[in-house]
Symmetry: C2
């Protein structure tokens, strides 16, 4: 029984960072997401690839109980993204985007996957995201990601989707752009008026800010000395986040906070190597070890004079 | 007996933010620092002002046991800074700097203040900072701040000062500039090779990162919906930080971490009004209340499956 469904892209990326260069490596929002989420729960993935896609490259996901039946092989080439980063790894510069099979993608959710209690709508056209919501029943949590392109070109469609989801997981710049508020807390409250009960703003190396109706939660990013390639960090965060939620089977604020910690941990691994490599080779013991280090970085005991 | 000594500037600021405008209001690094630190310990301040300075305006500090004997009234006008901010309140734009009496300032530390166990060298010419260190005995902690102007124009002098201090409290951009490393953890380790045992990087609305030889500590910024004027936030942070250290009388890592929390709390108040107004009117109960909220924003219990 699949608990978590993701709809998004599977891609071939070509990436240059100050620390190296790779061509046509596995990438895409849904793949990064699934790679991380599969550590915690059974995941189903819906995406399209072209005839040029080597399905063996993602075969390892089956061993982690990922349902790949929703990956459709369409006529044409696989989605390709080419980008680079300078030393400020918070800013990706897109050199080329070839939509290829994604251009005519219309996601059809296999019957088995429609019952998943948790749904992540990775960054694709909001019209398609809406189409996905229409196919599923009433998941316990629908979580949405998007990007500046859709905010600028399909604002009305995006607003309709936002009205039907429970949470947003977006970059802080996108939160500002959607809400037209510079202050993130104010911006989040404005978006919540449309329906969602929780806004999670990703702030790259600065961590994550969550705003719900009653609470605010601050999660710093795990401090790394060597960040190799940030591509997919946001989707890896979302994967750890939703994998944890789906496994716990609830969306209480306490679970959401812990899921944010888990997402941040997974993202901190993802940026240590190109493509999906680091998370593919990751062990649960490594996650445990880093969790202990992460806790230590945030622990200051208690200021007894103020308690 | 004065426990904490600060040497820096007392100024008249003219500031414009998207939320208002003020002219010739109290400011300066040493004044913001003292205003915050005096909540926690007895502070002595060394600075220069001009004949135009209204000493009554800072008379309230005496009631908080601040020793003002080190404020010298010199011939000429008080230091003046004019700046503005856009909606990105992390970035100040300097419109005008009039050094006035600061141009010929040569700090002389009164005998009584030389014995303070904690010394904060606020942002002034590193040659003067070195001159201050030469006058004091062996304080338990000397903490340094600086700015890009000195990094670019007096690099060698600054390096000499860094070699004689215990901690740095600087902006993340300055940490990168001094260390010539983009990664903050790496940059901090490089600076520690010169002598300091602890580097505290201020990241504005993103909080604070501390790197010591053995540990890293991450402190987010308290989330505010209304930030009014960030001027002096960094010095207010340093004031809360060192006020707490001096009061505790130790520099163990645990105390340093709690002092960072205290500094962050004080800075969060400072940005809620122009000039020194908010901290001047602040009560200890307000600090306690915000501490409880701040703790809550960082609390996620424990992920038992990873513990």
């Amino acid at each position: 029984m699949i608990k978590l469904l993701v709809v998004g892209t599977v891609a071939y990326d070509s990436i240059e960072t100050p620390f190296g260069k790779v061509e046509n490596v596995l990438g895409g929002s849904a793949l990064h997401f699934t790679n991380a989420a599969s550590f915690f729960t059974d995941v189903g993935i819906v995406a399209t690839v072209g005839k040029d896609f080597n399905l063996d490259g993602i075969g390892f996901l089956k061993e982690r109980n990922v349902d790949l039946s929703g990956i459709r092989v369409d006529e044409g080439k696989t989605f390709r993204w080419e980008g680079k980063y300078g030393y400020d790894l918070n800013q990706a510069i897109t050199l080329k985007t070839e939509l290829n099979v994604v251009e005519t993608f219309k996601p059809t959710i296999p019957e088995d996957l429609k019952k998943a209690g948790f749904l992540f709508l990775a960054n694709i056209d909001p019209t398609l995201q809406f189409h996905v919501i229409d196919q599923v029943g009433s998941p316990e949590a629908i979580v949405l990601d998007t990007m500046n392109f859709w905010i600028e070109n399909k604002f009305d469609e995006l607003m309709k989707v936002i009205g039907r989801v429970h949470m947003l997981v977006i970059n802080e710049a996108e939160l500002r752009e959607i809400s037209k508020e510079h202050n993130l807390v104010k911006g989040a409250r404005k978006i919540m008026e449309l329906g969602p009960s929780c806004i999670i703003a990703k702030r790259g190396e600065y961590g994550v800010l969550m705003v719900s109706k009653d609470e605010i939660f601050l999660c710093p990013a795990f401090p790394l000395e060597d960040v190799f390639d940030p591509t997919g960090a946001g989707d890896t965060f979302a994967g750890g986040f939703m994998g944890y939620l789906a496994n716990m089977g609830d969306t209480s604020l306490e679970t959401v906070k812990q899921a944010i910690i888990m997402g941040s941990l997974m993202a901190s691994f993802n940026v240590e190597d190109f493509s999906i490599n680091r998370i593919k080779a990751l062990t649960y013991d490594e996650i445990k070890g880093r969790y202990r280090s992460f806790r230590k970085c945030m622990d200051f005991g208690d200021i007894t004079t103020l308690a």
